[in-house]
Symmetry: C2
Subunit: 216 residues, 2 copies
DNA sequence: TTGTATTTTTAGACAAGTCTAAAAAAATAA
DNA sequence: TTATTTTTTTAGACTTGTCTAAAAATACAA
């Protein structure tokens, strides 16, 4: 089917596409920690396989077929992350790198059984939606804490930054998925945000507020 | 650590070593469905890494280090097979090829947790022992049905042939791991064996009797 | 609009792993 | 022992995915 390298490129292009429309060579190179010249080569190959649209100097976008492949890789990634946390009891900051390896095991029957074994979860440990086998998933209406009005109440439902250090910070503050919070105040000096959670007040920086997502 | 190709060579050499002492280039080529010239190249590389002993034209054997790597791959393979059968409810003839892919995920912590999750199983779905993380396992005293005296009683505990067709045949005859049988008669004409299992008589060919292992 | 900086592509090379064809060594037979 | 067959190694080539250095295209600024 597709090689490991091809899969990693498709996933990177998908991820970058969410922000911008067409994705540039340099963006992909940065995302995969590789060189622009390598990206040009690979993007050509993906275009041959009709997985991306590419005209030179214009950047790339995924075709329908390419998007389907990318969503399948993401499905596998998130299902394995769920497995690692729920069944093997890893912490949410430990699973990404492992899932990065496991996502390339692509036997459909295996993934479907894994999905069933865990009861068809809809979100991974970081709150991200798990696409079904056709690549469908609910787009969630999550907002960064930094973007809502004072006195808004919500439920912590996702993160924008998936780094281990950010996740560990949230864990230490008990700011984990499912917690109910109320935005109490925004300090005008540095845009720090004061939250109330379980009747205690917690102050978080602007940066943290930007990367913490809530459902209203 | 070691590449996927290196791991597959080490596993093949380990397997072939169980039968013979030194393993020949052609044997490895046959086992991996590759060419002798490719084997020579790879074996050189493994010798550089001190994973095999090699002098040209003399065949190879694993070093202590190489054997440890091989046993670790086998551990991973068998643990995943156990997982696929016990947790995802695949049949014993369906799991080998999947495990062949999964065995290369090598994060020690993951494998140890998987092991714990399943309650530290000692045998895989085909009756083969699962080495611990140091490569230790009990050598089992299993005998082919064809090698024991008439009137011997035993428990089906393993197979020599791991092919899907053989496993499916056994499944259809209900000759599965754990079943108690008694060897009743050996037909002198064709060496077919008549067994008694759960008060019924079953006849199996010489070939099947050779590949079905029992514990006495 | 013309010149400079940035981005992207091309050209050429390299490592890993494989192959075919030919040479060398070892095993077997006459 | 000499000749023939088989096994193993060498030589050279190819593919995938990567890199550096240089050229070409595009974007931006004066
Ligand atoms: Mn992840
Ligand atoms: Mn995730
Ligand atoms: Mn197996
Ligand atoms: Mn097995």
């Amino acid at each position: 089917m597709n090689t490991l390298a091809e899969e990693n490129y498709l996933k990177a292009i998908y991820k970058l596409s969410l922000a911008a429309g067409n994705v540039s060579t340099n963006q992909i190179a940065a995302e995969l920690a590789t060189k622009a010249s390598s990206v040009t080569d690979m993007v050509r190959k993906l275009a041959e396989k009709a997985l991306v649209n590419y005209t030179r100097y214009q950047g790339v976008s995924l075709t329908k077929a390419g998007e389907k492949v990318a969503l399948n890789i993401i499905r596998r990634h998130r299902l394995w992350e769920y497995f690692l946390v729920e069944k093997l009891h890893f912490k949410w900051d430990e699973v990404h790198d492992m899932a990065e390896e496991m996502e390339h095991i692509s036997l459909t029957e295996l993934i479907d059984r894994l999905d069933a074994f865990m009861g068809h979860p809809t979100r991974d440990p970081h709150g991200d939606p798990i696409p079904d086998c056709d690549g469908n998933f609910k787009v969630s209406e999550l907002k960064p804490v930094s973007s809502v009005e004072v006195n808004t109440a919500g439920v912590i439902s996702g993160v924008r930054d998936h780094s281990a250090s950010f996740l560990q910070y949230l864990e230490r503050q008990q700011l984990t998925i499912g917690k109910h919070i109320i935005i109490k105040e925004v300090i005008s000096y540095d845009n720090a945000v004061i939250l109330e959670m379980e009747n205690t007040q917690i102050q978080i920086s602007r940066d943290v507020a930007n990367n913490l997502l809530i459902a209203l």
